[in-house]
Symmetry: none
Subunit: 225 residues, 4 copies
DNA sequence: GATGAATGAGACTTCATTCAT
DNA sequence: TATGAATGAAGTCTCATTCAT
C-alpha cells in the first residue's frame, strides 16, 4: 500500500514465536528491513539486526532472501505502489484554480509520502542508485515518471487556463519537484541541509515553496482570467 | 555529460619505484581520492585503492593524511570550500540588480561546483550522512552553511532594495538551494530523476529555475524601484 | 620444572570442519589463550594464533570474547581470581597459630598459583603493565588487592593475638608478598634470578622464606602467648 | 658509569645540530633509547621516537644499529657495569655489625641503583628475558651474580660472628634480594603492586624490610656476641 | 654519512554468508 | 523449515625497515 503503515512493533508479545505462521515471515523481514535501511542506510544495516527485529534468526533471513542486496531490492519493490491513480483521479475532479491545485498537490505529497516511511525509500534509492541500476530503473518508471506526469498536467492546466504564463514544461516541472525531493533528502540527512539553530517545519516549508513557485509561474496580472 | 572526466591514470613510465615526490603526493592522493569517493562513495572506497590509483603504497597515504576521514575532509577543502571567499567577494562588488545576481550566482554554482566532480561529493555526503556524523557536521559547517549565508545575503539585498517582496528568509533560501541540490542529485542518480526520453541540459535547467524563482520573489510591479 | 605442561594440541581427529560445540569453545579458547599469553606475552600473542590453537577460526574467537583484552581478563578470572574466595574461607576457619597460617598460606600460593600457568600471567602483567593500563588496573583490582587484603588479615591476626610484634602493616605485607612475586618472576625469567649451578627448589624456597619472615615478625619470647 | 646520569635534554639548544660530532651519535641514541625503553617498554617504543629524542633522523638510527633488537641489546650492555667493585671494597672495610651492614647495603642499593634509571634496565631485562636469552645470560653474569655473591658474603659474615643464626645461604640470600627486586618491579609497574590509596615511600619500605629480615636472621638473644 | 619519504607485512575486528544440527 | 555457531575475506591503520637523494 502506498500510505506506508508506520511500522508496528516486530513481535506480538502475547503470542509465542512458534505460533507465527511461516507465510508471514517474508513480510515481517521486509518490514524490519525497511525500517532499518531507512534509519541507517544500506551498508550500515546488518543482516542480523534485520533478522532480530523481525523475530527470526539470521539463518532464516537468508532462507528467504538470497543476499542482503536481494533483500534491499525486495524492500524497495514492496514499498512502491500507487497513490498516483488516486491522485490522478483527484486531479480530474479538482474544481479550484491551478494555483490552489499546486498548493494542494504539494501538501498532499507531504502528508502521504514525504511524512511517511516511503520518503525513506526515495532517499535510499537516490543514495544507492549507483549500486542498483535495476532498482533505479524500476523506481524511475514506477514513481518518478507518474510524478513527473502529474506535475506536468497540473502546470499544463494552469497554462491552458491562462492562469500560468507559458513555460517549457520539461524544465518547469522541476520547479515543483525539486523542493519536494530536497525536503525528502533533508529529512534523511541528519540536519545536513539545515542551518544550525533553525528547525525547519515541513508544512511551512511546503507552503512557502509553493507560494514562491506559484508566484513565479503566474501570468502577468492583466492577462489572467 | 556533466560529470567531469575522471582523471587519467598517473602514467607509470617504466618502473620508477620508491620515487620521492613529497610536493606532488598530496595533490595526487587528493585527486585519486576525489575520483574514487565520487565513483564509489565514502564507505565503499578503500584506502588502499586510493593509494594505488595515486601510484603509491598504502602506507604512504597515511603519511600524508591521518585517516580516511581526514583525507575526505581535505578533498572537500581542496575542491569545495575554496570557492566561497571568492564568491563572497564577488557578491560585495556586484553592480547589477538582485535578480541578475541570483541568475549569476546559480550559473556560477553550476559552472564551478555543479559541473565538476565536486558535485559528486555533495551527493555522497547526503547519501552517507547517517553513517558518518563527523563528516556530516564538517560538511554542513564548511559547505552548506556558507552557501546558506550567501543565498540569504543575496535575497536580503533584493528585499532591502525593494526589488524582492518581503519573505521569511529562513524558508526562502530553500527556493534557491533546492533546485541546485536537486540537479546535483539528479546528475549522480543514474537518470533516476529525469523523464525518459528527455535529456536535461543543465544550463537551461539553471536558467529556467532561476527565472521562476526570481519571478516568484519579485515585488509587485508598482512597488519596485 | 614449575611451569605447568602446556596443554597438548586439541586433537583434530580427521577433518571435522565446522563442528558445533558451543559449550566447549570458551574453555578451549581460554586454555589456548592462557598458553600463548604465558608463552609470548599479551602484545605478542595474536588473536588468530589463539583461535588456531583452539582449533577454531579467527571469527569464532570474537564470537565468545569481545576483544583481546576481554579474552585476557577472562583468562585471569578463570585461572586466578577464583582462588581468593576459597582462601578467605580457609582463613576464617583456620585453627592454628598465625605463624603456621603464614607458612600454610605461602605453600598454598605456590601450589595453586605459583606452580601453575597462572604465575605466567602475573609475570606478563608486570612486564607489560605500562602498555595496557586497563589490564593493569583490572589485575590490580582482581588479583593484587585481594592478595594484599588476605596477607594483611593474616598479619593482623598475629598481632592481635600477641604472636607477632606490632608493625606498620602497610609495609609489612610486602615482606610476605615480595618473596612470592620474586619467585614468580624468577620462574619466568629464564634463570635470570638464580645463581648458576644452583637449582632452586620452589618448596624449599617458600619454606625458607616463610621461616625468616615469621622469625622476623614474632614478638619477643617473653611477650608471646 | 653505574650511577646512571639522569638523562639530559636531548639537544643543546644553542648549538645547531650540524655541529654535533658524529662519534657522539651512538651514545646519544643509546641514551635516548634507554630513557624510552625504561619509560615505555620495548615493544611500545618506536624507533622514530628514539631517533627524534636523540636529535637525528630515523634513518640514522639504523645506520648505527642493525635493528631495534640490536639497539635494545646495546642499551643493556652499555648501562650495566660495576658498582660491585666499590661495594665489595666497602664490605671489606666495614666496621659495624652485620645487621647494620645489611641495612646499609639495602639503603645503598636503593640510592645507587633502585632510584636510578638502572632499575629500569633490570625491570626491562626481567620483562623481556624470554625474548633475549643472550641478554639474559649477560645480565645474570654481570649483575645478578655479583649481587648474589655480595649478599652471601654479608650473611656469611653475620653467621660466622654468631650474630645471625645458621641458615642455608642458597635460600637465605633471596630474603634480601626479593624485597629489592620487588621494589624494582613495583616502581616500574604503574602502581600494579601497591594498594590503591597508599603511596609507598621507598626509603621506608627498604628500612622496614631490612628490619624484618634482620630480625628473622638474628641468632637467639642468648647466643649472640 | 645523513635524511626522511616510501614501503608492506601484519594486527585487530566486523559481518555477510554457510551449513551442521 | 529454522537455527545460530562457525567461517574467512575485508578493512583501517601502525611501524620497523629500506633506499633514493
Amino acid at each position: 500500500m502506498f500510505t506506508a503503515p508506520s511500522s508496528p512493533k516486530p513481535a506480538q508479545p502475547a503470542t509465542p514465536k512458534r505460533e507465527r505462521r511461516k507465510e508471514a515471515r517474508p513480510g515481517e523481514l521486509l518490514n524490519a528491513a525497511m525500517d532499518l535501511f531507512v534509519e541507517k542506510g544500506f551498508a550500515a544495516t546488518r543482516a542480523e539486526e534485520v533478522a532480530v527485529r523481525a523475530g527470526v534468526s539470521k539463518g532464516t533471513l537468508f532462507l528467504y532472501f538470497q543476499s542482503k542486496e536481494e533483500l534491499f531490492k525486495a524492500v524497495v519493490r514492496e514499498n512502491i505502489s500507487g497513490v498516483f491513480p488516486k491522485w490522478n483521479a483527484e486531479f480530474e475532479a479538482f474544481q479550484g484554480s491551478s494555483a490552489e491545485m499546486l498548493h494542494y498537490a504539494m501538501q498532499q505529497w507531504w502528508e502521504h509520502l514525504g511524512a511517511t516511511r516511503a520518503s525513506g525509500i526515495t532517499k535510499l534509492v537516490m543514495a544507492e542508485a549507483h549500486n542498483f541500476p535495476e532498482i533505479t530503473a524500476f523506481f524511475q518508471q514506477e514513481v518518478m515518471l507518474p510524478g513527473h506526469t502529474l506535475i506536468r498536467r497540473i502546470l499544463q492546466r494552469g497554462i491552458d487556463a491562462g492562469e500560468f504564463r507559458p513555460m517549457n514544461l520539461d524544465y518547469a516541472i522541476y520547479a515543483v519537484l525539486a523542493p519536494m525531493v530536497f525536503l525528502n533528502m533533508s529529512c534523511h540527512s541528519e540536519g545536513l541541509c539545515q542551518s544550525p539553530g533553525f528547525t525547519l517545519v515541513p508544512e511551512d516549508y511546503i507552503s512557502s515553496q509553493a507560494d514562491i513557485i506559484v508566484h513565479g509561474m503566474l501570468a502577468p496580472p492583466g492577462t489572467r482570467p
